[in-house]
Symmetry: C2
Subunit: 120 residues, 2 copies
Amino acid sequence: MTQAAFFVLTALADEPRHGYGILREVEELSDGAVQLRVGTLYGVLDRLTADGLIVLDREEVQQGRLRRYYRLTDEGMRALDAEAERMAAGASAAKQRIAEGRKAGGTPPVTGPGLAGGLA
Amino acid sequence: MTQAAFFVLTALADEPRHGYGILREVEELSDGAVQLRVGTLYGVLDRLTADGLIVLDREEVQQGRLRRYYRLTDEGMRALDAEAERMAAGASAAKQRIAEGRKAGGTPPVTGPGLAGGLA
DNA sequence: ACTGAATATATCGGCTGCCGATATATTCTG
DNA sequence: CAGAATATATCGGCAGCCGATATATTCAGT
């Protein structure tokens, strides 16, 4: 699963949203760190739909503008959960190894004086 | 940062390793979940070197076979730490939203046994 | 002695996927 | 009336992953 797909699924995890709403939601939930681009979105949406992870929930016309809402399927929910698990495990493994690298004696991998503070 | 790059950095976080060793290490540390391919590795290694996140540590000839060891730079360590932080945050956000989606009343996004059959 | 697997390096082409640019249309703000 | 925001969608370039391929040595099995 790509990063973009993961964040789209995450944005849809609590409630159905439309494309533009997903864009804003991803930016918000990641605190501005992840910027999902418009050009990326629809490709991801199509792929996730083809994979059965999301479905078109409904179409609304709000103030003259079409809103196409998507929601997670059961499979999408499961996939997101599994991916979140993998990511947490990966992040945890990385942190642990950073700590191991620091305490290791022999040939410390470029651990300078200014580093310790930033890595906690 | 791509997934492949992240896992290469993670594999190098505790001590310097050579290409083939990284391959095996990534598979091991991810419990077989991540399979870094040979064709992917050297491109990643080149890119990480160009970005200054890793450097060639040394070259050894062990039993007639060349071993090219890489290690993290300070910048690489910082980048890995930051990426691990982002991943943990993303995983956490996803988990939280999954929980929110489940407890939410009105239009539950495909949660529960009753919906399971009908959603496709 | 020979074969195949493992170890170890590296390259190349195809395919997938991200993103900037672009297009269209309505509403709201200045 | 112009520009920004909302909202959709497509297209082409480029980056990056991966299977296939090439080369060379060591080790285990027959």
